[in-house]
């Protein structure tokens, strides 16, 4: 297999509140021999909120990000579902609407850039599965995760709308997603089957509709707990932030104690590939997770 090389759009959280996401992603890429070039020029994707204020501006900024991957001639990879959604939505809008593409390019020309539509936009999860291959990952597992029942939490923005994502997510069906389950399986972990795996975590209304947000997270976390999960794993740092950081508040709203570690997808892979404790960064979690490193290496 020729060496895989991707342009990484880190997104904002991996550079700020979830440094463990960036370090574990880079550690996994390093272990698997995947070359990563970080798009240092990239800006925020708008996180579905800038889009509410000014959809056109969000398209311009996302198109600019993709331009830098196009300049390198590489696929742009994301490590956040919401970055994936908003980048893919802009790509789809520009690739299918020549009038909008011309309007956006008119703005980009002012800073010497042009959006062409030549780079794919893909979440790292699907690069690992569809391009690197589960069998190849399986061959490199140093620390099998056989001690753990792992609840996959897919996160909305990688699976819906399927029409947008199906060209880049291996045709995952949003009602019966399988990619994370298969990845857990390849790492020798036990995937937990539970109804909430493809549901919403409520992150996006954390500020303005707090009760809704807490209930949605609570439903998902308790469903995982009730199905004997030892941890939840998600490819989205926004799901991670909501589900890891707010467990105390969620417990109050749900009337039941919720205590379960929530890992980023690359942290789980890094753990199985034998990356260092520092690279995996389990100590950056609000809900204590650092014991998992020792338990995995028992």
């Amino acid at each position: 297999m020729s060496q895989l090389h991707y342009a990484l759009f880190t997104g904002c959280t991996a550079k700020q509140s979830t440094p463990e996401l960036l370090s574990s992603t880079l550690a996994v890429a390093d272990k698997l021999g995947i070359k990563i070039t970080i798009l240092e020029e990239a800006s925020c994707c708008g996180a579905s909120h800038l889009q509410d204020f000014d959809e056109f501006l969000a398209h311009v900024l996302n198109a600019r990000n993709i331009c830098y991957a196009e300049k390198l001639g590489l696929t742009m990879i994301t490590i956040c579902n919401t970055c994936q959604l908003n980048s893919a939505m802009t790509k789809h809008a520009l690739d299918t609407n020549p009038e909008l593409k011309a309007r956006v390019n008119e703005k980009l020309a002012e800073v010497g850039l042009e959006y062409k539509g030549t780079s794919q936009v893909k979440h790292f999860l699907y690069c690992l599965i569809d391009e690197y291959g589960l069998d190849n990952i399986k061959d490199r597992v140093k620390t099998p995760l056989s001690n753990f029942n792992i609840a996959p939490f897919y996160g909305c923005h990688n699976i819906r709308p399927s029409e947008l994502h199906n060209s880049s997510n291996g045709g995952e069906n949003p009602y019966t997603p399988t990619s994370l389950d298969k990845l857990i399986d390849a790492l020798d972990g036990h995937p937990v089957d539970y109804e909430s795996k493809n549901k919403c975590c409520g992150f996006h209304v954390e500020l303005q509709a707090n009760h809704t947000s807490e209930v949605l997270t609570g439903n998902a976390l308790l469903d995982a707990v009730d199905n004997n999960a030892d941890m939840v794993v998600t490819p989205c740092p926004l799901c991670h932030l909501k589900m890891d950081t707010y467990q105390d508040d969620v417990s109050k709203v749900m009337g039941r104690d919720v205590e379960i570690p929530v890992l980023h997808m690359p942290q789980m892979v890094a753990l199985a590939l034998g990356c260092t404790e520092k690279e995996i960064g389990l100590d950056y979690h609000v809900q204590t997770a650092s014991q998992i490193f020792a338990e995995a290496n028992l």
């Binding site: 509140s17 800073v111 500020l207 303005q208 979690h285």
Partner: protein, 330 residues
């Protein structure tokens, strides 16, 4: 007959007048490759149990009566191929009403909440009509195209009963009513768009309670993508100066402020900017836990400390914001 598949179909059964709790019944049948979920329901009623109840009418994907769920997936029974569903769910399917808690009899639900929400947004053109017009009220192709596909809604309820925000907050208008609000607010013949934008900008009721899960986009059998229209309504509220300064609107426009300064979002600043310093007391406990874990730093929220990483070529981003922004900050 070889391409017929013998399966057991499960169905949710409940009669609100006689049953204390719902139950599930199994029906064995052979399913052909061209059969629809509606055919399975007809088969249950005609060949197994005449009391099995569901709504149906046009059989052509137009009346919106036969919306149900299968294993949680919203479907229009007269449009959804049965074999495709059996393949998707490994031959194990359960027919369910769109909302179990609103079930009246089997697949039939009390849809009054759906119609109340619809009515609230005035789903019709509000205009002074000349009873004896000299000619038709014409619209240009551009004016018509602005409706996008919102006019195709058949009020089947698939998106409404797929919406998790509505499930938690019954006051939320939900995707179908918001799609209708967009449909008539963007119509150039209509005079009530400001009323609709005001209603749909209300906290707890309108667009700001959308959780952005895209369940509605996935659910719609007419492929309307209601959340696209919800985003348009958000933008229209700023364009028409209906948006008031509140935590939700400041959170949306706060992204411009952050991106202009850093390229990235300033995660601490967006919370302070949206909530205001007085509102920050709500977040102190969480902030302390995040500081302890090293997720944020004690000085992140101080306005004179700038810890945020900067995008390379930030000047490009700043220039693009200046020349591309179509809405004004509140």
């Amino acid at each position: 007959m070889s391409d017929r598949r013998k399966v057991k179909i499960k169905a949710f059964r409940f009669n609100a007048e006689t049953d204390y709790l719902p139950y599930t019944k199994e029906y064995e049948m052979e399913v052909g490759k061209d059969e629809l979920v509606l055919d399975l329901m007809n088969r249950i009623k005609w060949e197994h149990d005449g009391s099995f109840s569901y709504r149906r009418s046009c059989r052509h994907g137009i009346c919106g009566a036969c919306g149900i769920k299968v294993n949680g997936k919203p479907v229009l029974a007269c449009k959804q191929n049965a074999i495709e569903l059996l393949d998707l769910f490994n031959n194990d399917i359960t027919l369910e009403p769109q909302s179990k808690k609103r079930a009246v009899k089997d697949m039939i639900i009390d849809k009054s909440d759906f119609w109340e929400k619809h009515e609230a947004v005035k789903p019709y053109v509000v205009a002074d009509i000349d009873p004896e017009p000299k000619h038709e009220t014409k619209q240009s192709i551009t004016q018509f195209n602005a409706l996008l596909d919102s006019d195709l809604c058949i009020q089947c309820g698939a998106c409404h009963y797929a919406c998790p925000a509505l499930e938690v907050n019954p006051d939320y208008l939900g995707p179908a009513a918001l799609n209708a609000a967009f449909r008539f607010s963007i119509d150039t013949r209509d005079n009530a768009s400001i009323d609709r934008l005001e209603l749909t900008s209300k906290a707890g009721v309108g667009v700001w309670d959308c959780v952005k899960c895209f369940e509605c986009a996935e659910a719609c059998p007419k492929e309307i993508n209601p959340i696209e229209k919800i985003t348009k309504l958000h933008n229209m509220q700023f364009e028409q100066k209906v948006a008031k300064r509140n935590i939700a609107t400041k959170h949306a426009e706060g992204f411009v402020r952050s991106i202009k300064k850093h390229g990235f979002l300033d995660e601490a600043d967006i919370v302070v900017y949206s909530e205001g310093y007085l509102g920050m007391y709500k977040h102190m406990k969480t902030a302390m836990k995040m500081i302890k874990a090293g997720k944020i730093h004690w000085d992140d929220a101080l306005p004179w400390v700038d810890n945020v990483p900067k995008s390379k070529n930030l000047d490009e981003i700043q220039k693009l914001i200046d020349i591309s922004m179509t809405n004004k900050l509140l």
